[in-house]
């Protein structure tokens, strides 16, 4: 198990959990901003976009200098900030 930040690119990943673990709230906070939005809020937005426990995702790219992570869920590409990405815990799918 690892966070989306550490995951390899272009291999199928299964989402183990979203927004849990040691970095839970801190990870959800916007960089450069103050305060954070509630965890439930982000979890719901993730879920609305199809990122939740058990879904299969793919890491497409990670932009340098703390830029966003681009992932593919189903037929859709989604850009996620790194704080949020660190709160998505994944595992490589064994085929």
């Amino acid at each position: 198990m690892m966070s989306l930040l550490e995951a390899r690119k272009n291999v199928p990943l299964i989402v183990k959990s979203v927004g849990e673990g040691k970095r839970d709230m801190a990870g959800m906070r916007g960089r450069g901003g103050r305060g954070g939005r509630g965890r439930g809020n982000w979890c719901r937005r993730f879920s609305n976009m199809g990122i939740r426990e058990g879904s299969i995702i793919n890491k497409v790219s990670m932009h340098p200098f703390f830029g966003p992570v681009v992932i593919r869920v189903g037929n859709c590409e989604i850009a996620v900030g790194r704080g949020m990405a660190s709160a998505i815990i994944v595992e490589e799918v064994n085929e």
């Binding site: 901003g33 982000w42 609305n48 976009m49 966003p68």
Partner: protein, 572 residues
């Protein structure tokens, strides 16, 4: 039935369906959040007039952004007995879209599902069993291609069949249930990467993506400039010089060169001739500014912007720009309102609603109205400073960019509130339909003609009255010494600051007869961009930000404009 509500996730084509149903042209683009406010139109079904509402895109009925709050409001305020919900669904992303569908079904409204982008399912190797899906959801399901009109007739005929679904799914069981539906109705075959998908991969790449962005932005600029200058040089100026000048010259002796009416309508004759930049009559410069100098750039800018919008490039640029945008306390999607602002600040300020928090919207709107000149103003800056080439134009945009980043950075430090990270869907690249694209350009150009042309004429008229009644001299005496000392501009330039509130292109135009040096023109162009928004922008700022935040924004504008003008004056 009295009302149709168009509901769906962002960027599924609701606005295109709306246009198909109502014939009302609205802007539809390929990025999530094109529609931030609802739009109303009318359609006729079975001989009855029915109100159609294009609701901003939403992922769920529990709102997370102002645009989604607007969506929620319509569910609460509509009468289920007189309303049908059209749930527009991206058929290439069935699973994610069905979440909202199930939420809509749990309300008491009759729902019809439209599987939009039906043509794309074939390219992507997706097949969907429509009958089974309709049976499982217990509502009509219609495949559509909004942009070509496919499926709209079938939709029109099926309103009578719309009844509330008695399907009830427990909230915690939603995704499970969706999974079951997908298994039953959708088959995905493997398919090879298309050319567009290869381009998608390139523009997502951290290094190649930056190169690609550089090429796209450079080409955009070159094309805007080429089309703009081409139209001015080969179409507009010849028309004005060869057709309009003779008419005005015939008219001139009739009025008598020194009469007031001549001054107002035709303006000063420069060396016995009309100079469309300097004469400053309502019928000479007044018509030339909007039609001869600005319109060509409006056309070329919106042509290029529409291509960027409809291909789906903007959200990708947003991802690349995310780090830069966080420097000023907003995330990457903030690039979208900034781009729109180059056309006109009004839609730019409205588009800040795609940002989630108040802090982001205040920063984005303020920074934009300070440092982004609209295309009308840019065209006039090109017109005046163009003869000096890069040496004249570059300092203006460099100063404005520095202002953008410095004001943004300072605001990011001191404005309280949250700046969430980027979290956005990136739509696939799509090849724009040329006809649809041209219609969109025309829609925006016609807005410019309707909204701007009268204001420019009134502006030029006021300028003449200002001069005639000695108001310019009065202003010059009153503020002149201040202006000369701090900004190095002649006292007459004060009047431009007043007119700038009405129309910035006219204000820049007023500098033409003053015989300013290049340095003075650069200073004046920058100060006129920054010091205050034009009245149209001011009104939307007020509406979007409220009294206090508008006041804050205004103080920042005036003070930074004076400061930057002073520095430029020291340099030149």
């Amino acid at each position: 039935m009295k009302r149709i509500l168009l509901f769906g996730n962002p960027n599924v084509g609701k606005s295109a369906i709306f246009t198909r149903l109502t014939g009302v042209r609205v802007i539809a683009s390929n990025y999530p959040g094109t529609t931030v406010e609802y739009l109303k139109g009318k359609t006729r079904i079975d001989g009855n007039d029915i109100e159609v509402i294009d609701v901003p895109g939403t992922y769920s009925l529990i709102p997370d952004s102002p645009a989604e709050e607007v969506a929620r409001k319509f569910i609460d305020e509509s009468n289920p007995k007189e309303t049908v919900i059209l749930n527009v669904v991206d058929s290439t992303n069935l699973e994610r879209n069905l979440n909202l569908t199930l939420q809509l079904l749990s309300t008491n409204f009759p729902v019809i599902v439209l599987l939009n982008f039906w043509d794309e399912t074939k390219h992507k190797g997706i097949s969907i069993d429509l009958k089974k899906m309709s049976k499982l959801l217990k509502i009509p399901v219609i495949p559509t291609i909004a942009i070509t009109g496919y499926g709209i007739q079938e939709l029109r005929e099926s309103f009578s069949k719309a009844v509330p679904s008695n399907l009830k799914v427990r909230e915690d069981d939603t995704w499970n249930f969706i999974g079951k539906i997908i298994k039953k109705v959708q088959i995905i075959e493997h398919h090879h990467h298309t050319f567009l998908q290869v381009l998608e991969d390139i523009s997502n790449h951290p290094v190649l993506g930056v190169v690609f962005a550089g090429v796209v932005l450079f080409l955009s600029f070159v094309i805007i400039r080429l089309i703009g200058e081409g139209l001015i040089g080969f179409v507009c100026e010849p028309i004005f010089e060869n057709l309009w000048t003779p008419v005005l010259m015939k008219f001139s002796p009739v009025l008598g060169e020194s009469s007031l009416l001549h001054k107002i309508l035709i303006g000063e004759l420069i060396g016995g001739k009309i100079d469309f930049y300097q004469s400053f009559g309502v019928l000479s410069t007044g018509l030339f500014i909007p039609i001869g100098a600005v319109l060509p750039y409006i056309i070329s800018f919106y042509f290029v912007l529409s291509i960027l919008e409809d291909t789906g490039y903007l959200p990708r640029l947003a991802v690349l720009m995310d780090r830069l945008m966080h420097q000023i306390g907003i995330h990457g999607m903030g690039i979208v309102p900034m781009f729109l602002a180059f056309g006109c600040n009004v839609p730019g300020v409205l588009a800040t609603r795609i940002m989630e928090t108040r802090r982001e919207r205040l920063i984005a709107a303020t920074v934009m109205s300070i440092s982004i000149p609209c295309m009308a103003q840019i065209a006039m800056i090109f017109g005046l400073l163009g003869k000096y080439g890069v040496k004249g134009i570059f300092p203006v945009f460099l100063s404005l960019f520095l202002v953008w980043i410095i004001v943004g950075k300072v605001m990011a430090k001191y404005v309280s509130g949250e700046s969430p990270e980027i979290f956005t869907e990136i739509p696939p690249y799509r090849i724009p339909y040329f006809k649809v694209l041209l219609k969109k350009v025309w829609l925006r150009v016609s807005w410019f003609l309707k909204e701007a042309l009268p204001f420019v004429l009134i502006g030029v008229l006021i300028v003449n009255l200002f001069y005639f009644f000695g108001f310019v001299d009065f202003l010059g005496k009153f503020f002149g010494s201040f202006l000369t000392r701090i900004l190095g501009l002649p006292p007459e330039a004060v009047a431009a600051l007043f007119i700038g509130f009405l129309r910035k292109d006219v204000a820049i135009g007023m500098l033409a007869p003053l015989g300013l040096s290049m340095g003075q023109l650069i200073t004046a162009s920058v100060v006129l961009t920054m010091y205050f928004p034009c009245v149209a922008t001011f009104v939307v700022l007020f509406k979007e930000l409220g009294f206090w935040d508008t006041l804050k924004a205004s103080v920042i504008m005036v003070s930074s404009a004076i400061f930057v003008g002073w520095i430029l004056n020291l340099i030149y």
